[in-house]
Amino acid sequence: MEFSDIERILALVKEHDLAEFELEREGLKIRVRKSGGVPTMFHAASPALPLLQATAAPQALPAAAPAAAAGPVGPRLDEEESLELAVVKSPIVGTFYRSPEPGAASFVEVGQRVKKDQVLCIIEAMKLMNEITSEYDGEIVTAYVENGKPVQYGERLFAIRTA
């Protein structure tokens, strides 16, 4: 992939008003996301692409150290509105836990301010505890899933106001 190809991709994204563009081939992956500029509708259920996927290593079975992963984020709100809401979606299938262990305090509560890379919750899959971290600084506006409930790929976990 040449720099001129990347320039062409960026031009195409702008020209066709794309919100998001991803290309993967030959060991190279490029994702372009348009932020600001063109208003996009806030759509809680839209299938956003996860930035990083938490995948349990195929060779390991019993729990090792918790794997850190960033949850996927939905498209941003219309710029004219003062709110910018990002939806964190589950990158894996598993069981959702609000706290590090039973009886302990939740990682985050609604109304709490969080920082980038802060752990929001744990999703347990195949005995592996996957920490889901926040991609943004902001405030937890909604927690969608009850503690101990199963979640599927792409399920909404939290809404974070990033403004």
């Binding site: 995948t55 299938v93 199963p150 599927q152 790929y153």
Partner: protein, 458 residues
């Protein structure tokens, strides 16, 4: 018996498994990628779990996602269907570790028979006729030359860990051997991660004949006769039928018996298919074993009356096979056409939205499909959208039945291989039963350049 089965697959085979489960009173869990959100198998399962984005590696091929889905739904068994993880010893092992029943053979058997070289050795030991070849992988040019000389040309170089036609090279001249050996090794390494290759005698224009086998955990093993799958393009089957016109009652009993002995020798359980080449002198040569239910299983179901998927489920649940070898009878003739979302001449994939979809009924017709009006055929998965299977009292009636069924099938909005299937069954060689794996070449060679000047030379 299982309370809940998770189907680790999609499309028509997922629906097929749901059919069996519903009839057995077993609850079903469908898993799906984001591309299959509106697919029929999701609609007709009792529960469903989204396991990933459209790409297979991140969804239908993801062991953690599938096992996790089984855990959160409390499924006590997983049916892997065909393709995807159906021959993954790893998935079978993880299932065992998680106390989920894997509906298929044991991990060790999958691993043994999945290694082509080990499978050949096991079959030879059990008395199954195999294609003469190098015993084990060929690691040097000297060894390759010696093997080729002993076998006599032509020979074929094949990947030990491979399939689907990759890492294969046919040698008709000794001079080609050295270069072809290196190329095949490189290809095998790239495609399968293992560069080992072996050499076999090459049979010109063979028939592809496969035997269906079922084994339970009480030591019973039976065969359900053969299917002929010679109509292939690039090692992808297009049309299958049973019985084969080239297999006599005597041949069937003899090879069927050898296959059952071999299955017993490796302690084979659940469904499996033993594939062979058949030359024009009634010699069978073992190719490989597919340790799963196959796409073309309906052909056997039609002529024997056995529900193979139900038997798979019952065997995995510890029950005995519901019949003995002596109960197996073969009635009439069945043909299956794999309808693909492809251009019937160029074979270019044709994904898109199906706007009109209608399949005829009538006697002896079975259609296994996930397609319907206004459904989207996505580009992420293989192009097969339907299987049309017919049964007739004899081969002649089956062919006539297939022709009228294909003619009365309506699929609009995408291109399909139906015009090609109609050509195949009208071909005089097909009607006469003169088949071989070279049959499809006539449809590829026929493509001539469209420019008049080129066609006019010489």
């Amino acid at each position: 018996m299982f309370k809940k089965i998770l189907i680790a697959n999609r499309g028509e085979i997922a629906l097929r498994i749901i059919c069996a489960c519903r009839e057995l009173g077993i609850k079903t869990v469908a898993v799906y990628s984001e591309a299959d959100e509106n697919s029929l198998h999701v609609r007709f399962a009792d529960e469903d779990v989204c396991i990933g984005p459209p790409r297979s590696t991140d969804s239908y091929l993801s062991v953690p996602a599938i096992i996790s889905a089984a855990e959160i739904t409390g499924a006590d068994a997983i049916h892997p269907g065909y393709g995807f993880l159906s021959e993954s010893a790893y998935l079978a092992e993880v299932c065992e570790a998680c106390h989920i029943k894997f509906i298929g053979p044991s991990p060790n058997v999958i691993r043994l028979l999945g290694d082509k070289a080990r499978a050949r050795r096991a079959m030879r030991k059990a008395g199954v006729p195999i294609l003469p070849g190098s015993e084990g992988p060929v690691d040097s040019e000297e060894k390759a030359l010696k093997v080729a000389k002993d076998l006599g040309l032509p020979v074929i170089i094949k990947a030990v860990a491979g399939g689907g036609g990759r890492g294969m090279r046919v040698i008709r001249d000794m001079k080609e051997l050295s270069k072809a050996l290196k190329t095949a090794q490189r290809e095998a390494e790239a495609a399968f991660g293992v560069g080992d290759v072996y050499i076999e005698k090459y049979v010109e224009n063979p028939r592809h004949i496969e035997f269906q086998v079922l084994g339970d955990h009480h030591g019973a093993v039976v065969h359900l006769g053969e299917r002929e799958c010679s109509i292939q393009r690039r090692h992808q089957k297009l049309l299958e039928e049973g019985p084969s016109v080239a297999v006599t009652e005597k041949m069937r009993r003899k090879l069927g018996g050898a296959v059952v002995d071999a299955a017993r020798a490796v302690q084979y359980t659940n469904a499996g298919t033993f594939e062979f080449l058949l030359d024009d002198k009634q010699n069978f040569y073992f190719l490989e074993v597919n340790t799963r239910v196959q796409v073309e299983h309906p052909v056997t179901e039609f002529i024997t009356g056995v529900d193979i998927v139900k038997e798979q489920i019952r065997v995995a649940a510890g029950e005995r096979l519901s019949f003995k070898q002596g109960d197996v009878t073969f009635t009439g003739h069945a043909i299956e056409c794999r309808v693909n979302a492809e251009d019937p001449e160029t074979f270019a994939p044709s994904p898109g939205v199906i706007h009109a979809f209608s399949v005829p009924g009538g006697p002896g017709v079975r259609v296994d499909t996930f397609a319907h009006s206004e459904c989207t055929v996505s580009p992420y998965y293989d192009s097969m959208i339907a299987k049309i299977i017919v049964h007739g009292r004899d081969r002649q009636e089956a062919i006539a039945r297939m022709r009228r069924t294909l003619e009365m099938t309506v699929i609009e909005g995408i291109k399909t291989s139906i015009p090609l299937h109609l050509k195949i069954i009208a071909d005089p060689d097909f009607v006469a039963g003169r088949l071989s794996t070279a049959f499809m070449e006539r449809y590829i060679v026929e493509k001539k350049p469209s420019t008049g000047s080129l066609a006019e030379t010489a």
